[in-house]
Symmetry: C2
Subunit: 506 residues, 2 copies
């Protein structure tokens, strides 16, 4: 019985398993490709604090079967550019990138753009062409393919141009199989929602029919740049601890603890070492395996560490979220809530939640749920998302809410690391800490909605009651007037006012 | 603005993104670990055509926080064993394995077992211990850890024993963080459903409380061993075509086409080359890029290729599926359907569907859906699975079915490659070809259910009608008898029989 063992490359793994990266069928593949490149483009501009200008064009190139066509996708940005020596690997090598950091970014796997390029290659066998400049004297042009079995870039062509106009940015262009007609609703919805949460970005999309969709920025104001941070002590595991010890320049535990973790200063470092009974002068490089495991448990047990700082995160803010929803849905009522920073596995995150009622919110027999993560809309596989699960688990009758009401719920999570469940970034895993924050956020806005609904109910009841008074009091007045033999009935407005419960509102 | 680029290893990628492999929280992690190792154990025995004996033990080792404990997991099998030189990489190197083949197996990513071991390492920092023998003279024992940053095994210890008793199999043992109490229902359900679709396996599970769960085999009969197959011409992409050309020993297109694809023989090869206007004597190694792309399109366009052969697949069979369901749920009605082999992206697959009504099927206000893939139950993230989406999209009123009926639907897909959406193998992507087969399968069993329900409705109506007849005919008979001055009423049984519509059944 022959058993053969082999090693495969990372590119080969994703080539064999494209479903796990979201490239399941021609319609989803073209959506994923557009989305991954747009997100890289937005990240590239934001990392320079430049309001992003992103231009996306899809050209029809030919039929490729019953359910698929060939398209040429071009995405241009005004971002930071890629240094020439990194261009080949950054675009044609899986698990190579600039995003393996503790910093809020749309891309997190360093994989999406490459998967799109890989998918283009295996469906059309065309190379990808990259033009990029960091704004200095030269512009670099590459034509690349991926050596999938070795996971290495193949450089087919390279040109260097003089950058006369000081252009900065990146252009990615390649061909791929897709089904634009089917993907169109999702792609347009993606642009719409992306524009909603990135109001400082210009997005221009030219579709295969030549139709132009323009989403113009409404503000030049950029959110604060997310910073790179140290890991929070509550989220370290043994592997991370070992890596921190490996790279630390410090030779004593006090300096190591003080300088390696998020929000740990002199006082906290001292107190923690005392709590865990570790000698401050001990050399971290000399900790045994057992001592490292113990240190990890101690870090998790010590309760005095400060919660993570939101400085490294860039939430939308309650105001922006509210404005965006008012603009899109014109609801009768909206409540927003930004939760305080929390942490899961050492990664800080902020949850923002909103609930909208009435107005243009459609009645679907179920709530509308809009999910965002690090300012990107999540449009697929909603049913498995942690937010949807939380919403389904709640007892909505407590909030006077029934499924037939026109209600939309918005959940935005921003984090240095979003716990996506799939490489295709379709939905978020149910980490208990994240679940709790979403639940508490939704409860808070749901309570506000209950107050609104209760008040409206009172108002309705009062309106009915006042309707009765207004109808019968004049009759009674007339009757009494006649009875008293008078001619002119008294002014009953004062009487009506006296039975009102809510002055102005009725 | 500093941008730093780096390459990370595959092990590092999954260390950073454990959510995508199903290791989201302590409860899900322990479930995933048990499941991955059990599946490897079953595969290891089946690849020898041995009825599997799998022993699983979880020991409580200590608390690890509020929501997690440390457990020691041990899984023993009587399988094929791992050759000693491959043991370190097979258990402690990501993307190394024996499963990267076109063959039906439970494991497909060569990743699950390693993720479990990696998760154990980062949560407890303990090495994994492996004991394995292929049944020859020696037994090999290893203690291993994973060098995550380099994705290489670290051998801490290695022992060789004499195999006096001719033992064959593998034992894997390591510690990990988990939450057994929370995971317990899913773990037990997993064993129950696994036993249901693997009736030739012995499963013994000892839980942390020392409780023994035994699932004993009911048959020694094993399904046919799945074979390794060639790719089907409809599913090739350019990358695969290039690889086939690279490794082929043949120097002309005729032999290349005849020997490289599933179900392509002499005649088909000739006809295809004629259809695609390719010279049979042409050397495949000399095809240009453009010619390879053209060849791929031709392979997809040619309509005369035979459908994939089910020989490489090992479905449950209608009988076994029915028996399993009858045993578990004792329904009033069950219909099963095995679809003919189909293909997606060149991978043959068979869909088996069953519907059960009444009996012990619980009424939940919604259908019960049991999903299986290559004889493993899928228990998480149901809402995103292609089967559930298909079921939701159907108009069930056409089948006289309402959501409040006690209905359970079973879907089993077996394939040389299941299009899982997540590395954690929780649910299947909606590949259009797979969707279609599931839809048609469910329609078929739903039609049978409709016949049953219609018939029962008729029977009910008839029973009511006959009830009326049986009540009033005797009265009329008595009345007529008296009217005629007779004493004994005539025998009306004949009359009643004559108005019956369904003879025996009432």
């Amino acid at each position: 019985m022959a058993q053969t063992f082999e090693e495969i490359s990372a590119a080969d793994f994703f080539y064999r398993n494209r479903d796990i990266a979201g490239f399941t069928n021609p319609s989803r593949a073209i959506f994923a490709a557009v989305r991954e490149l747009v997100e890289n483009a937005l990240d590239a501009a934001e990392s320079l604090r430049m309001p992003p200008d992103v231009y996306i064009r899809l050209l029809f190139e030919g039929e490729a079967g019953k359910e698929a066509q060939i398209y040429r996708l071009r995405v241009e940005d005004n971002g930071i550019g890629v240094p020439p020596r990194h261009i080949p690997s950054a675009f044609a090598q899986v698990f190579f990138g600039s995003k393996y950091k503790l910093k809020q970014a749309r891309g997190t796997f360093g994989l999406g753009g490459k998967m799109a390029i890989l998918y283009g290659q295996i469906t059309t066998h065309q190379p990808v062409s990259i033009v990029s400049s960091t704004g200095r004297a030269r512009i670099y042009m590459y034509r690349l393919m991926i050596d999938i079995q070795r996971n290495r870039p193949l450089i087919l062509d390279r040109k260097v141009l003089i950058n006369k106009e000081g252009w900065r940015g990146t252009v990615v262009e390649f061909s791929l199989e897709g089904n634009y007609l089917r993907a169109m609703p999702k792609i347009l919805e993606y642009f719409k929602q992306t524009a909603l949460v990135n109001p400082y970005a210009n997005l221009t999309f030219v579709d295969p029919k030549g139709r132009l969709y323009k989403f113009t920025r409404v503000t030049e104001k950029m959110p604060d740049l997310p910073e790179e941070t140290l890991p929070h002590p509550y989220g370290v595991d043994v592997e991370l601890l070992q890596r921190l010890i490996q790279v630390t320049p410090y030779r004593n535990m006090f300096e190591f603890i003080k300088n390696s973790f998020h929000r740990v200063g002199e006082t906290t470092a001292h107190k923690f070492l005392e709590f865990s009974n570790i000698r401050p002068s001990k050399n971290p490089k000399k900790l045994s395996h057992e001592e490292i495991v113990r240190l990890m448990h101690m870090l998790k047990q010590y309760e005095e560490f400060l919660p993570p700082n939101a400085g490294c995160l860039s939430p939308l803010g309650e105001e922006l979220l509210k404005v965006g929803i008012m603009k899109e849905l014109k609801p009768e009522f909206v409540a927003v809530c930004q939760r305080r920073p929390a942490t899961y596995a050492g990664h800080p995150f902020i949850t923002e939640v909103a609930i909208a009622y009435g107005g243009e919110v459609p009645k679907k027999g179920d709530f509308i749920v809009c999910r965002f993560a690090n300012r990107i809309p999540l449009l697929y596989d909603e049913a498995s998302d942690v937010s949807v699960r939380v919403i389904k688990s709640m007892n909505w009758r407590r909030y006077k809410v029934t499924p037939d009401m026109p209600i939309a719920i918005f959940v935005h999570i921003c984090s240095t690391k979003i716990p996506y469940k799939t490489v295709g970034k379709e939905f978020i895993a149910d980490r208990p800490e994240v679940k709790k924050e979403i639940l508490n956020g939704i409860r808070e806005v749901a309570r506000k909605l209950r107050r609104f609904l209760t008040r409206r109910e009172h108002v309705d009841r009062e309106r009915k009651r006042m309707g009765i008074f207004s109808k019968y009091l004049p009759k009674i007045a007339r009757f009494s007037t006649e009875l008293a033999g008078e001619e002119k009935p008294p002014d009953i407005r004062k009487l009506i006012r006296s039975v009102k419960k809510f002055g102005e509102e009725v």
